[in-house]
Amino acid sequence: MPLPLAVMLLLSCAGVGLWRIWRGPSGADRMLGAEQLSTLAIAILLLLGAFLDQPALGDVALLFALLAAVAIATFVTRTWTRLHEAQRRPEEAEGD
C-alpha cells in the first residue's frame, strides 16, 4: 500500500474520533475519542517518518505513546472523582 494513501485513510479515521469527542455522551467516551486520536497520531507519525526518511519522527511518536497514559490516569483519579458523583448529568446516567 502506498504510504500517502495510508496516511490519508488514517487522517479520515480521525474524523470519527473528533465526532466522538464532540458527541460524548459520557466523559469516558470523550476520553476514548482523544485516545483514538493519539493512537492515530502515533501511526501517522511513524508512517511519515518512513515516507520522508526522517527517523526523528519516531521520537515524537515515542513521546505520544508515553504520555497517553498520563491523560487517562489524571482523568480517572482527578476528574471523575467523588466530587462530581452528586451532580451526575442525566445523559450520563442514561448510558447513551
Partner: protein, 308 residues
C-alpha cells in the same frame, strides 16, 4: 506528492479549526478541555509538517501531556455542568457582531502584513556562530549559548509561577477516586523506567539533533505527575525534605546564573562561555534545567505548597 501535501494540510487545518472552535464554544467544560487536549495533539502534527521537530517534541510533551493533566485536575475541583449561554438583547446584537467581525478581520490583516514583511532571517548568522557554541544543533545553540539570557529569564518566570502557586496556601488534597484502582501503581511501575530513559535520550540527542532540555524536562515532569497520581512521591509532602525540594527547584536557575557569572569573570562578558568547556558546561546546565523543569511542573500540579 504535492497533491498529498495539500490534502494533508487541508485536513489538518480543518481539524485544528474545528477543535479550537469546540474548545472555545462547546457548552460542556469537560468536553472543551478534551477538545483542547486533542488540539495540542494535532498541533504536534502541524509542527512536524513545518519541520520544527524541537517544537513538536516540546508540544507533544507539554501541550498534549502536562497542560492537559493540569486542566483535567483543575476540572475535577470546579463546579461541573454546562455553561449557560450569554443571551444578547436585540439591540446589542449588531454592535457585538460588528466588534467580533472586526477582531477577526484585524487578525487576518495583521498576519497578512507580517507575511508581506521582508524576512532575511538569522539562519546564516547562526550557522556561522555554530562552531563556537559547543553544540552542533542550531536550536540548542540559540537556546543555551547565543541567546542564553532568554532561557535564563524563562526559567526565572517558571520559578515565579511556582512561587505564586505555593504562596496561595497549602496543597489541595485530591478527592478520592470512586473505586479502588489497582492498575494505576502497575502502570506507574511499568512506565517509570521509560520515563527516566527517554529524557536521558532526549538530553543526549539535544547536542546534535532535535531534543534537549525542554522536552526532556517536560517528559520527566509528566512522569512525575504520573507518580503523584499514584501517590508515589511521599517525600515531596514531608516537611523535613522541603529544603532539598526547594534547592532542586532552584538548581537550574542557580547553575545557569553561575555559568553566566563565570563567563563574566573569565572573559569579561556576561554569558561568554569559553569554547573549551562550552560543550560540557551546556550539558551540565541542561541536566540541571531538565530536573528543575520537571520538579517545577510537579510543584505546579499540587496547586499549593506541600508539607504545610
Amino acid at each position: 506528492m504535492s497533491a498529498f501535501v495539500i490534502g494533508f494540510d487541508l485536513l489538518l487545518g480543518a481539524g485544528l479549526l474545528w477543535l479550537a472552535w469546540q474548545a472555545l464554544f462547546h457548552p460542556q467544560p469537560f468536553a472543551a478541555v478534551v477538545h483542547f487536549m486533542a488540539f495540542g495533539l494535532m498541533m504536534a502534527l502541524a509542527w512536524v509538517r513545518l519541520e520544527a521537530l524541537d517544537i513538536a517534541l516540546a508540544e507533544a510533551a507539554i501541550g498534549a501531556g502536562v497542560t492537559g493533566a493540569l486542566l483535567l485536575a483543575a476540572l475535577g475541583r470546579l463546579p461541573d455542568g454546562p455553561t449557560p449561554r450569554r443571551l444578547l438583547r436585540a439591540w446589542q446584537r449588531p454592535p457585538v457582531a460588528l466588534a467580533l467581525g472586526s477582531v477577526l478581520l484585524l487578525s487576518l490583516w495583521l498576519v497578512w502584513v507580517a507575511w508581506q514583511l521582508p524576512r532575511p532571517g538569522l539562519a546564516a548568522e547562526v550557522t556561522a556562530a555554530l562552531p563556537e557554541s559547543g553544540v552542533r544543533h542550531p536550536v540548542t545553540a540559540v537556546l543555551l549559548n547565543l541567546r542564553a539570557l532568554d532561557t535564563l529569564l524563562e526559567v526565572a518566570v517558571m520559578l515565579g509561577a511556582v512561587w505564586l502557586v505555593w504562596s496561595l496556601g497549602p496543597e489541595l488534597r485530591p478527592y478520592a477516586p470512586v473505586t479502588a484502582l489497582p492498575g494505576l501503581p502497575a502502570l506507574t511501575r511499568l512506565l517509570h523506567p521509560l520515563f527516566l530513559m527517554v529524557p536521558a535520550y532526549l538530553l543526549w540527542r539535544g547536542s546534535h539533533a532535535p531534543g534537549g532540555a525542554f522536552p526532556a524536562g517536560a517528559v520527566l515532569g509528566a512522569g512525575g505527575i504520573l507518580l503523584l497520581l499514584a501517590d508515589g512521591v511521599p517525600w515531596m509532602q514531608r516537611p523535613e525534605h522541603q529544603p532539598l525540594l526547594r534547592l532542586l527547584l532552584a538548581a537550574g536557575l542557580v547553575l545557569f546564573l553561575g555559568l553566566a557569572l563565570g563567563g563574566l569573570l573569565l572573559t569579561g562578558t556576561f554569558f561568554a562561555i569559553p569554547l573549551a568547556i562550552a560543550g560540557l558546561a551546556i550539558l551540565a546546565v541542561e541536566v540541571a534545567i531538565a530536573l528543575s523543569i520537571a520538579l517545577m511542573l510537579m510543584a505546579c500540579y499540587l496547586f499549593g505548597e506541600p508539607g504545610r
